[in-house]
């Protein structure tokens, strides 16, 4: 009888052991050099939280790894997307947690898939948007919004809004200098003028400033904003110039206010203060916020590389989330606005990345009202000199792009369970 019980016990033990070997309790998604596709890994994490599965982000652990449940759907998606996953047992997870507790690392629970909107026109201009490319490639859901939606207050439906290339001062990025006869430019101008008329606004600068103010209100009420390239600089200028004429006659029919610099209300802006407005219509720059001035040949500064700062995962988890990466030094890339001069940064802005020895920074973050914003200079991390009309970047050729990881960090950051910042 005892022998039979022993046999039964051993049999049960064997079954249990074989079951645990066949299926671990969790999947660790490493984000260091062991990962074959870093960008798709974010899509896998997003898929998990979208399906209301528990997901955690291990900050500073193996490049900012994710811990997901060992679900068949996730395993299949990982296999299809080429994402490296490591099945781990509860004991192994406990060991990892002990390691997290002992160093500059932490675990952040990803609660809920953020509702994402990308501000972009319906008729696609002859340039692309790194965030649209990244989200599409990673398989992260998003919706598109444009001026009508912003002015109608629809941004409140979303947790996260992204801006890329729009000129919120209403000067069409001064592209009329070179492209005023291009069909896409004419169409863009006509579209914006029609929208301004629809909302009883006198001209395009007034329209874009109203949109900028709508975005400011979205952040003030708790939204997350991520902006890249020219949208960073022009959004702050558009907000600060809400009551100032900073645009030339080509866009609003009146000359620039000669006291525009002095009359800017920088209390309305997110990141910058005291910038000088570039009032010449023949100089393709909006202000002196950008350190590189790529479209002004005589002022253009060469590209270098920028370094991500280290933050305390336990004390400063937000900043730490935004810089999770498997590379600390990244090659720089141009954009309509490539970088941000330190001299015009507001006090209190958190610098996330900068170029050593340069008077500019690359990647900044801050709070505004109940929400927060993040600005990343440059257009496309994998195409350092992306020009109008260039083919969009094929991210399947850059699955380990550290630059694109910065964008995707921002996408997942609103999903994190809120922890009060301790510094």
């Amino acid at each position: 009888m005892r022998a039979r019980r022993l046999v039964a016990f051993v049999a049960v033990l064997c079954v249990a052991l074989s079951a645990s070997i066949a299926r671990a309790q969790s999947l660790l998604v490493p984000m260091d050099d062991a990962q074959r596709n870093h960008l798709k890994a974010y899509g896998l994490a997003f898929e998990a939280i979208k399906a209301s599965q528990r997901a955690e982000w291990f900050l500073n652990y193996r490049g900012g790894s994710f811990l997901l449940p060992d679900a068949a759907t996730l395993r299949r998606k990982a296999a299809l997307d080429g994402v490296s996953v490591e099945p781990v047992t509860d004991a192994a997870v406990a060991s990892i947690r002990a390691e997290l507790a002992g160093g500059n690392m932490d675990a952040v629970v990803l609660e809920r898939a953020p509702r994402i909107a990308i501000y972009r026109p319906v008729d696609q201009p002859p340039w692309d948007d790194a965030v649209t490319l990244a989200l599409t490639y990673a398989g992260i859901d998003f919706e598109s919004v444009w001026d009508d939606e912003v002015l109608q207050g629809d941004l409140s439906k979303y947790d996260w809004v992204h801006l890329h290339h729009e000129d919120f001062t209403g000067q069409f990025n001064k592209l009329y200098l070179a492209y005023r006869d291009a069909p896409w430019f004419i169409a863009q101008r006509q579209r914006d003028e029609a929208t301004a008329r629809k909302f009883n606004l006198p001209h395009v600068p007034a329209l874009k400033k109203a949109v900028a103010d709508g975005i400011r209100t979205f952040v003030e009420k708790g939204g997350f904003l991520f902006a890249m390239c020219g949208a960073t600089e022009s959004l702050d200028l558009g907000m600060a110039a809400f009551n100032v004429d900073m645009t030339g006659p080509f866009s609003d029919g009146t000359p620039v206010d000669p006291d525009a610099d002095a009359r800017m209300d920088w209390s309305r802006s997110f990141a910058f203060t005291g910038a000088h407005i570039e009032s010449s219509p023949y100089v393709n720059a909006l202000s002196d916020i950008d350190g590189h001035q790529v479209n002004v040949p005589a002022r253009r500064q060469p590209l270098g590389s920028f370094s991500l700062f280290d933050f305390s995962a336990k004390l400063d988890p937000v900043a730490a989330m935004l810089v999770q990466n498997h590379r600390a030094v990244l090659p720089d890339f141009f954009g309509v606005t490539t970088s941000f001069n330190k001299a015009v940064l507001k006090p209190g802005v958190t610098v996330l990345a900068s170029e050593e020895g340069a008077p500019w920074v690359k990647y900044i973050h801050g709070d505004y009202g109940q929400g927060s914003w993040t600005f990343l200079g440059g257009h496309d991390p994998e195409d350092a000199q992306h020009a109008i009309g260039s083919a969009p970047t094929d991210l399947s050729l850059h699955p380990n792009s550290p630059g694109y990881r910065l964008i995707l960090n921002n996408v997942l950051f609103p999903a994190a369970k809120k922890k009060p910042r301790k510094t």
Partner: protein, 573 residues
């Protein structure tokens, strides 16, 4: 260094008048300074150069001594971090020689290094006053501004120069460089065209400058360089740019319009050589053919034929080599024309004629030449479907120790053991050999006449017939069925029969799911389905490949195509 400079000095100042009776000669004085410099004795070298300058300026003697001393001082003080010391010395020289170009250039350099922009502008004004109507002050000032990273200021200075001097040819190079720096490609191309018209040696600089033009700007450059009148410099520049931009065909289009003279022939020859290096054989053929038509010798004609053959145009190769051979002696024809002609005839399946020609030239061919011709001749017989004559030719030419030739013959005869043994040792690897080895590695059969027939049919360029034979063999040669079906599928696709190809791939994926060819079959099947518009079925095949064959080399490609199918990455089709 000292020895070399001394030699130069002997030539340049050896004939100058002695400074004073008790002083060393100019050559000795300069050599003493150079010796100090070479020994890195900077203070002694500087003192020596200063002494020479003082003597020359006092005595009123002029010439190269001033330039040599100033340049020497500039080097020495640069090395000893005393650049500031240069300015007072230069100013002393300029008081005596206000238009001295070397002193002025050094003054500009010193002021720009010290970032003394206002003084630089004043120095420029002084030089202009001292040398009215000359281009040198403008040119040096513009160069200095460019060196300071101020292209817009340089551009403004050039605009003033145009007002003061008109369009001066000595400033064309600077105009071009500034326009290129400011990315005004149309202007840059025009300025470079003007510059190389008077200073042809600047063509290389022009090419480096303009090759940076972005793809959308290149049409502007083309328009300028193609504009009438048709001149060699501009056309040669454009041809160089086009080859750099990856389009040698357009390069040849630019050059071919030139009227023919010795310079044009030289430009064409250089371009033909470059086209060959780029493996642009069709372009090379056209270049050599044009040269041959305009008085080129037989060597050029044979090069044209060889280029045509390499471009896959056996008919043209034969015609060209025949033309080139006219007027040659029989011996010369055998040596130069026959190799190309036999290869071309072989490609065209005219084995009898190829063999006859080799026979006729027999007395002019040594053993090595015969051996070289054996393989194309064997190939010619095989393409004609005559294995016996092919083997006979190989035997007569002593090619029985050639593994590739004998291996292929064995395969065509169905002797798989011999084929396997010889082909694996063949040195020249190509796609056909790889296919044959793949099939041979998958079957244990020792003989199979049907397999030989299938490969022979392929050698005769009967793709459709070969496809049928390979597919039929899949039933009888079961161990090699997947690879035979894959071969049939590839041949069907090559013949423009995608539906038949898809059936073969489907058969491999469903009936031989664990075979090595299964991932390729799934990939090709998915592609065919996607092309037919059935994206859901295509996605399922891609997913099957990714899930069931995760270790396959096809996985990255399948994943990429699946991404494109789902619109996750930009399409390029």
């Amino acid at each position: 260094m000292v020895a070399a400079l001394l030699a130069l000095l002997t030539l340049t100042i050896g004939t100058a008048a002695p400074l004073r009776a008790q002083d060393p000669s100019p050559a000795d004085a300069i050599s003493e300074a150079l010796a100090h410099e070479d020994a890195r004795r900077w203070p002694a070298a500087a003192a020596a150069y200063r002494r020479i300058l003082a003597r020359v300026l006092t005595s009123g003697d002029e010439g190269d001594l001033i330039a040599l001393s100033l340049l020497g001082l500039e080097r020495v003080w640069h090395e000893s971090a005393q650049r500031d010391s240069m300015l007072p010395v230069v100013e002393e020289v300029l008081r005596a020689r206000p238009s001295d170009p070397v002193a002025r250039t050094i003054q500009f350099r010193a002021l720009s290094i010290a970032s003394r922009d206002d003084d630089l502008a004043r120095a420029f004004a002084d030089w202009r006053r001292a040398s009215p109507g000359e281009a040198a002050p403008w040119r040096e000032y513009v160069r200095t501004l460019m060196g300071m990273g101020r292209p817009l200021a340089a551009d403004s200075a050039l605009a003033q120069a145009r007002v003061a001097l008109g369009r001066h040819p000595d400033l064309a190079g600077e105009s071009a460089q500034i326009a290129a720096t400011l990315e005004r490609w149309h202007d840059a191309a025009g300025a470079w065209r003007d510059a190389i018209a008077v200073q042809p040696w600047m063509e290389t600089a022009a090419s480096f400058s303009l090759q940076r033009a972005t793809a959308p700007s290149r049409d502007s450059v083309r328009t300028v360089l193609l504009a009438p009148p048709v001149v060699l410099g501009a056309r040669r520049l454009l041809a160089t740019l086009e080859t750099t931009w990856g389009d040698p065909r357009r390069g040849w289009a630019a050059l071919s319009a030139l009227s023919v003279d010795d310079s044009t022939r030289a430009a064409w020859t250089e371009f033909g050589d470059r086209a060959e290096v780029m493996n642009a054989w069709a372009v090379a053929r056209d270049v050599w053919e044009a040269l041959y038509a305009h008085g080129g010798d037989a060597t050029i004609g044979v090069r044209a034929a060889q280029a045509a053959f390499n471009a896959g145009d056996a008919t043209a190769a034969l015609a060209l080599v025949e033309r080139a051979g006219k007027g040659m002696s029989d011996e010369e024809r055998a040596r130069r024309v026959l190799p190309v002609a036999v290869r071309a005839l072989g490609e065209l399946g005219r084995a009898e004629e190829a063999a006859r020609r080799v026979e006729e030239a027999g007395r002019h061919l040594d053993v090595d030449a015969r051996a070289d011709l054996a393989r194309p001749l064997v190939g010619a017989w095989l393409r004609a479907g005559n294995v016996e004559r092919a083997r006979e030719t190989a035997e007569r030419a002593g090619a029985l120790d050639d593994d590739a030739t004998i291996g292929w013959l064995a395969l065509y005869e169905g002797n798989l053991v011999e084929a396997r043994r010889r082909l694996v040792r063949a040195t020249a690897r190509d796609a056909a050999l790889t296919d044959a080895l793949a099939v041979l590695a998958r079957t244990r059969a020792d003989t199979n006449r049907g397999l030989g027939d299938a490969f022979l049919t392929l050698a005769r360029r009967d793709t459709a017939g070969a496809e049928r034979r390979f597919a039929a063999l899949a039933d009888s040669l079961a161990d090699a069925a997947p690879v035979l079906l894959a071969t049939a599928a590839r041949l069907a696709a090559r013949s423009g029969e995608p539906v038949r190809a898809m059936r073969y791939w489907e058969r491999i994926a469903t009936q031989h799911a664990s075979a090595a060819e299964a991932p390729e079959a799934l990939l090709e099947w998915a592609r065919a389905l996607a092309k037919a518009g059935d994206t859901a079925a295509a996605a399922a095949r891609y997913e099957s490949l990714l899930i069931d064959h995760p270790g396959s080399a096809m996985v990255p490609q399948a994943r990429r195509e699946l991404e494109r199918l789902r619109g996750r990455v930009p399409g390029t089709d």
